[in-house]
């Protein structure tokens, strides 16, 4: 990635030699993403990140009720959908979007359906292929989109996205740079572009590509594909250790969702008798970075729309989301199992509990 900031820096649309090299780098990155998603190279549209990909996929100008999304989507999907009076499909207590519930609100006039592959707060995998199949039975012209940002590090997308027309992906969930992503779009399914201008990305997303970012994105995806099986096993073991340890060392800790349904990289628990905000403060003081829900622009913790959708009452228990990635080690788990119970004990003690 780094050479593309310096000695190889060039505009990939230029016809000179340096420009052609940059274009070649984009082509190679496109091939990696095609392999990772099971789409063709020509289906990959580079964007400025997951939010842009999601916004682009939802599209604009839909009539009320023509867009269908689940209640646990990322705000990058929910916001553009709600601005077009989308139908929002509720989830069950395990945080799963049922294909039947989606089918129940689709009609022949449905234009876009968006259900994420893996929820970013709970790690729960969604039955996206089944949903796509049902939607296409009812609404043959509808486009099915799935935000696969959280799924990319963990799941084999080609086998799990049958029938999906558009996928959003980004690199920063697997160690790539921020501010770069892609939407992968089946032939003939491209929504109206949001950015028009110089015709880059085959007129689907104008603007000079972020070559260094895209090269870094592809490198992270390549590395992730190469070690995925080994990493899945390793992180799954660490995640189990973490969850078991928390349940052993803190009274009343409950996993928010069942283990079977989630990717190994996210452990989500509810801790009774404490509040999220002070808990995160204490953990942060000890260099353990985690989160409770989504963050608002001010940096304050906001209530989680995902927990609300699942019917989780956060008033008596703190939701805590712990993310594990390729760099997580046993030492990190040891530290977490030392720090979290101590912080909880401090907060519960102070509350006279």
């Amino acid at each position: 990635m780094l050479p593309w900031f310096a000695e190889r820096h060039a505009n990939p649309t230029a016809s000179h030699r340096a420009g052609r090299r940059a274009r070649q780098a984009l082509d190679e990155a496109r091939a990696v993403l095609a392999e990772a998603t099971g789409f063709g190279r020509g289906n990959v549209v580079f964007t400025g990140g997951g939010t842009e990909s999601d916004n682009l996929a939802i599209g604009r100008g839909h009539l009320p009720g023509r867009v269908v999304v689940s209640a646990i989507e990322h705000p990058a999907v929910l916001e553009p959908a709600l601005r077009q009076d989308a139908i929002v499909v509720e989830v069950d207590a395990d945080g799963v979007v049922s294909p039947a519930a989606v089918a129940a609100v689709c009609t022949t006039e449905t234009e876009v359906v968006s259900v994420m592959m893996v929820n970013n707060e709970t790690g729960v995998c969604q039955p996206v292929s089944e949903i796509a199949e049902k939607v296409h039975e009812i609404a043959p012209n509808a486009l099915v989109h799935s935000d696969a940002v959280q799924a990319l590090p963990w799941l084999d997308l080609p086998t799990l996205t049958t029938g999906v027309d558009m996928l959003s992906i980004t690199g920063h969930k697997l160690g790539g740079p921020q501010g770069v992503g892609a939407v992968v779009v089946r032939d003939g399914a491209m929504p109206e572009p949001m950015l028009v201008g110089g015709g880059q990305e085959r007129d689907r997303r104008a603007g000079t590509q972020n070559v260094a970012g895209i090269v870094g994105f592809a490198a992270a995806v390549r590395a992730s594909l190469d070690d995925r099986d080994e990493r899945l096993m390793r992180i799954d073991r660490l995640a189990r250790r973490l969850l078991d340890g928390l349940m052993t060392n803190i009274d009343g800790v409950q996993p928010t969702v069942s283990r079977e349904r989630r990717v190994p990289g996210i452990v989500h628990v509810s801790i009774p008798g404490v509040q999220s905000e002070p808990l995160l403060f204490l953990l942060d003081e000890n260099d353990l970075s985690c989160s409770a829900a989504s963050s608002c622009a001010s940096g304050a913790q906001g209530a989680s729309h995902v927990m609300t959708a699942m019917g989780v009452d956060a008033s008596n228990a703190a939701p805590l989301r712990l993310s594990l990635g390729w760099s997580t080690t046993d030492d990190d788990i040891d530290a977490a199992l030392r720090l979290i119970p101590a912080a909880v004990a401090q907060l519960q003690g102070a509350n006279g509990g």
């Binding site: 905000e277 204490l282 608002c296 001010s298 940096g299 304050a300 913790q301 401090q346 102070a350």
Partner: protein, 347 residues
């Protein structure tokens, strides 16, 4: 080891300098901005840009900065009671309720839970230690900025652990100090008015959106109807302007607001004069008090001589009526060294 202080940083100049002074004094300082109001605002705290300013200043001082989201509690303890008090014809002081329930209760409790020794804020007031070792809220040395009135409710538990580093500063000197230190907020205008009421909409838009406003009639003291008001909730005892009542001979003022019957009564100045004012919910710096002292009835009003009884004060000289919902604050002494004995809410 240095004492750990959690300082509330609103993103304004006062709390910026407060944090810097604490650092000078050798405290281990962490900054917090309380996110209180999520709705429309134009006059001060809580906007994203204010949080950004606080974070920037914390970075200038090389201290950690966090955001505490007390929005739900602010709605419950400050905004909703503000609406409710208006509904009963009273005139609430939301800044006092915010200090009472949020800044010196929730924030104080949170700091304790997190293991901090003290809290600090950028309020213009001082903490006096008396000979017997107890503490009192004391006026700022800057009479134009003194905020002891809105901090009168603090008891010994908070007074013993709160630091008010700028209480000994005059505002112009403090601005110069912020300038000298190169703090981002040095030239930022003072916040005015209630943070959740906008200039454009005012209380009218705010209360109107929360259950509507009640039209009422204006009557003189003998019951003669002389006018109408579009919103009885917005009328305050003592008000003269904006009633559109003419031909009364001498100036008339609002002497009573009756929300139940939607009647506003007006009368001449002499009808507005009271010898005494009732109160509820007294709070005390230490022990409950009856006897002579000075009593202040608005944020920058004059502290007048009065006698405090169990449920009312009697004024040495008759004075204009105080709207229900306003706070009465009892001071020992006069001038900048006066200390707070306690306070209560006027009925």
């Amino acid at each position: 080891m240095a004492e750990r202080v959690l300082v509330g940083m609103s993103g304004g100049v006062d709390s910026s300098v407060a944090a810097a002074l604490l650092q000078d004094d050798g405290f281990d300082v962490v900054g917090v901005t309380m996110k209180l109001w999520g709705g429309e605002s134009d006059s001060g705290c809580c906007s994203v840009s204010d949080v950004d300013d606080a974070r920037w200043v914390a970075n200038q001082l090389d201290i950690e900065h966090h955001v505490f989201n007390f929005g739900e509690e602010f709605d419950r303890h400050v905004v909703n009671p503000f609406v409710d008090t208006h509904r009963t014809g009273g005139t609430p002081n939301p800044c006092i309720e915010c200090n009472r329930h949020i800044k010196f209760d929730l924030f104080f409790e949170r700091a304790s839970v997190l293991g901090f020794d003290r809290i600090a804020t950028g309020h213009y007031a001082r903490i006096a230690t008396l000979d017997d070792g107890t503490f009192r809220m004391q006026r700022s040395i800057d009479p134009l900025k003194d905020q002891s009135y809105v901090l009168h409710m603090l008891g010994q538990d908070v007074l013993s652990r709160v630091l008010l580093p700028i209480g000994g500063w005059h505002k112009p000197d403090l601005r110069a100090e912020a300038e000298r230190r190169g703090l981002l907020t040095a030239g930022k205008p003072d916040s005015q008015d209630v943070c959740f009421i906008t200039k454009d909409g005012g209380r009218e838009a705010f209360l109107g959106a929360r259950g509507g406003l009640t039209p009422g009639v204006i009557v003189t003291e003998d019951g003669t109807q002389v006018g109408e008001v579009p919103a009885t909730e917005l009328v305050t005892v003592g008000q003269r302007k904006g009633l559109n009542v003419s031909g009364m001979g001498e100036p008339h003022f609002v002497v009573d607001v009756n929300l139940r019957e939607s009647v506003v009564t007006i009368g001449p100045r002499r009808s507005l004069q009271d010898d005494e004012t009732g109160f509820i919910q007294p709070v005390w710096a230490l022990d409950s008090f009856t006897g002579s002292c000075r009593v202040q009835a608005s944020a920058h009003g004059t502290a007048r001589e009065a006698v405090v009884h169990n449920d009312r004060v009697t004024w040495a000289e008759p004075r204009d009526r105080i709207a229900a919902g306003q706070s009465l604050v009892f001071y020992d002494g006069d001038g900048p060294d006066a200390t707070v004995i306690g306070g209560a809410i006027a009925t």
